[in-house]
Symmetry: none
Subunit: 193 residues, 4 copies
DNA sequence: GAGTAACCGAGACGGTACGTCCCGTCTTAAA
DNA sequence: TTTAAGACGGGACGTACCGTCTCGGTTACTC
């Protein structure tokens, strides 16, 4: 019986999230409104407000579960190739609708709403960074990566240029771009002695 | 007479921009409204709409002239030190009110409004990237930087981690963070042979 | 030019009042909503709120001008007949849709909202009472009415039973009822000596 | 055992009515809500809806038993004095919080809800009218009242002016006002021959 | 004494309307 | 012509209650 209640609540929650995603794709995040989600989902506005404190929080919840899991890092033994592979996957995700524009909007919202930023980090960015750190640690032990490399920085260094291109330059990120970034990062900026 | 008119127009434009900044600091970009700017500035709404097509455009115009000019790159002959110096300045700017939070909001808005993103790149990001490219080209010729370094990528690589920390991790960027990033970037990730 | 503005404002005001009356007849005062008036009139809600502070005030304004003017008192020289004639007219007005039920609702609202009560008295009840007082004063001078009759009370005494029947007993008020009331009031309750 | 259930049900019913009165005094009838009564009484909304079909019905039930019984008519042998005494009592009741404003609100609600009006008449107005009729009948037999006086009208005539003053003019009804009304009613409007 | 039915509190739910805010457009009168 | 002022239609906000509806957890009555 407790199951039933949970199920009903879950049903509603899922319905709302799905509707949110639909509308976000049709209208974009900016024109998305809780009013419209409620109407399309056939749900009272309060039922949404009961679950999420803001449009941003709802949108994050709706968007993130969808594609968040795909970015595991392979382990072929070649660290540079493995990271490249994973980064290709990330770029493919970001570069294409529906996820790309929606994720961009989410990052935009994170600039206005710290709670969105926090949740984003906890649920999406953090885990990715952790996987990269772990994979690099392994590579470091295998001598494939400079022993003095600061692993806590690695994710920022590797994905920073990508996000820069995505959010600020707002140019399409290609595999070629990733290749060039990786070349530069692995080689270093200093001339070889 | 034409002069006077231009002056009046300029006066009004400046007044509106200044009021915009004031209100943005008090309320944040999200709660900023053209209505409120008009009221506070003692100006008709039309007078604002005649000059800017959107809140984002007005805000960009109001924010950018303010502190944009400070980020020149010194040339002491030591490329790493020079870039570091300039990046410290950038970090100091971003890290402190009022510019930091407002600039963050601007970048957030740029995710929703391509015209804001375009103007931002043209007026703020682009010139900075260009200066970094020029300074690195010089350094490359002086043999301080790897000859194969892709200069078009350099700004993204150098500032990407910073923006990642600022926009996504949303942690305060310290000089120490910059130091660690620069160490890693100049040394490269590959173990020295 | 001032004319134009006034005309436009008047147009809107009249349109809203007329729509209010329409909806009130269809739905009754209780189910009447400012939202629905705005929608049907093709007008923003604010345009209504700018003019009236409450549903009651709007309704009063919409209802009262409509039929308020009809209740003049004839002067045939026979005070009892004249008052009777005028009271018949009042009863006919109250007894029939659309005015009757709407006026009843207005009186109901006046119990909850003192400003409605005040406006009602000033614009509808007061003038009627004044006319009755004036007519009675004339009759008093002509010796048709007891010289000691308190004229300030007359309207309450004459129309009180009518309103009692209308608002409290909530039975249909007939001409016969008026006749019986008038007989009693003119004769007095005391036995003739 | 059946007693116990009845007692509990009664307890709840009384608790709800009392809470309703409390809240009505604090907020006024208009702002009174079943939701708030349920919350304050620590009772499920259903428990209220099970007992009363509407806010008006609940309010009537809560208000009327409280003070309804006090308006008996004395019998000193002087009909005018006796009615006056009873009317004074009525006026005192109406004129003072908490009963006055609440009763006014009830009458207001009766204009919107015929079932409230019906219950009001059956339980409050009707009995009063009946007592007045009976007392007058007695007086009529004793020759204190005109034999042709229509007793069915008497309550409307006697209390109509009072209700007019209370509901429509919305002025405080004083004993003096009652005196003047009674003088006029007993003497009649016609000049004595 | 264990069922069982009724009632209860709690509050979720779809829905309607509230009164407010701001959008971007439009009109007016003054300078 | 430009401006300040602000009315306007429109849309969404977040809130309050409506009346209905589960949901578990007592009672109190029946077998």
């Amino acid at each position: 019986m407790a199951e039933k209640r949970t199920d009903r609540a879950l049903d509603r929650t899922e319905l709302i999230k799905q509707t949110t995603l639909e509308l976000a794709q049709e209208l974009g995040f900016t024109k998305l409104s809780i009013e419209a989600v409620a109407a399309r989902a056939g749900v009272g506005k309060h039922t949404i407000y009961r679950r999420w404190p803001s449009k941003g929080a709802l949108f994050l919840d709706a968007l993130l579960p969808a594609d968040a899991q795909a970015l595991d890092i392979p382990n072929t033994g070649d660290i540079e190739a493995d990271l490249r592979t994973q980064t290709y996957a990330a770029v493919d995700l970001l570069g294409r609708p529906p996820f790309g524009p929606l994720y961009q909007a989410l990052l935009g919202e994170a600039q206005h709403d710290p709670s969105v930023a926090a949740a984003l980090n906890e649920r999406f960015i953090g885990p990715q960074a952790q996987r990269v750190r772990a994979r690099l640690k392994l590579a470091q032990r295998q001598g494939q990566v400079a022993p003095e490399l600061d692993l806590d920085l690695a994710f920022a260094i590797l994905s920073g240029p990508l996000y820069f291109q995505f959010l600020i330059a707002q140019e399409i990120v290609t595999h070629g771009y990733i290749d060039r970034v990786f070349s530069a990062l692995f080689a270093g900026m200093r001339p070889s002695p």
